[in-house]
Amino acid sequence: MTECERILEMLPWYVTGKLGRADFALVSAHVQTCEACRRELAEVVWVRHTMGAETRDLPVVRDEVWKKVSSRAGFRDLARVDIGSMLVGFRLGVNARRPRSPVRASLRVMGRNVRIVGAERRKECEAPKDKT
């Protein structure tokens, strides 16, 4: 593979800033001296700009989609009883789409729901470490 071919392959990630420092320096130095690769670079920049125009101002996802997803995932109870206040209370829900635990009950203590009936965990394993 010639150096130009290698540079050509890296150009898309050069313009999106996804190259490592060494590769970035390699491409920068090469396009300064190679007119053919400079033309290719201009085309890549143009394509990126064009893609930006194509996807600019796209409509956001409608709220209805979440309603459909949550309903199909079985989030909506067929019947629900909720007594108490926002801070302290009791909730009982029945949902046939949860074959393993159609009935769920939870106590609300200081605004936080604590499950007392109905499976919460699917498996026991360690959570991955949070990167943030």
Partner: protein, 168 residues
């Protein structure tokens, strides 16, 4: 703020709040990726629905060997291609008659560019979207597409040549 991977783990434990947060973080991204493939707002929403349902059902299988974004977009890609295959065979149900396309969706996008992209193959369209819009690294794009890195490079090269031929 929890990382996507930590959220995905919580979703695997049937945590609804985590699923909602994951949805909020990724819905637009999945929708736009789907839109770049199926070119129809209603179908893109359908891909989004199926993708997020698959995430809900399969989150416990996520082992963290790839980024959560890569994993989710990989599912979206499979859903979009499956839907396109069913469309070709005429197996799909009629569209939801209550769905009105947003006029802004049509008006705001450069028509010429849109038409040019429609002439590209789905493989070229998705490669362009992932690298230039999502700004994915080569490794991540290859993971989403399920192909070797060399294939992504060559698809991207031919995609931009085809796009330039259409528009220049």
């Amino acid at each position: 703020m929890k990382s996507d991977e930590a959220l995905l783990w919580s979703v695997g434990q049937a945590d609804r709040a985590a699923f909602r947060e994951l949805y909020d973080r990724h819905a637009d991204r999945v929708y736009r990726f789907a839109l770049s493939l199926v070119r129809n707002g209603h179908l893109a929403e359908e891909v989004l629905q199926e993708t997020m349902l698959a995430v809900w059902k399969q989150a416990e299988k996520f082992r963290g060997s790839s980024k959560a974004t890569t994993w989710i977009l990989g599912i979206a890609r499979n859903q979009a291609h499956g839907l396109l295959r069913r469309e070709k065979k005429g197996e799909r149900l009629p569209e939801d008659p209550t769905h009105e396309p947003d006029p802004a969706e049509v008006a705001e996008i450069d028509v010429r560019v849109k038409q040019a992209l429609e002439h590209l193959s789905p493989e070229h369209q998705e490669a362009l979207h992932l690298v230039f819009y999502e700004e994915m690294s080569l490794a991540d794009a290859a993971a989403v597409l399920g192909v070797p890195e060399g294939t992504v490079k060559s698809r991207l090269y031919y995609a931009r040549k085809a796009l330039a031929k259409e528009l220049l």
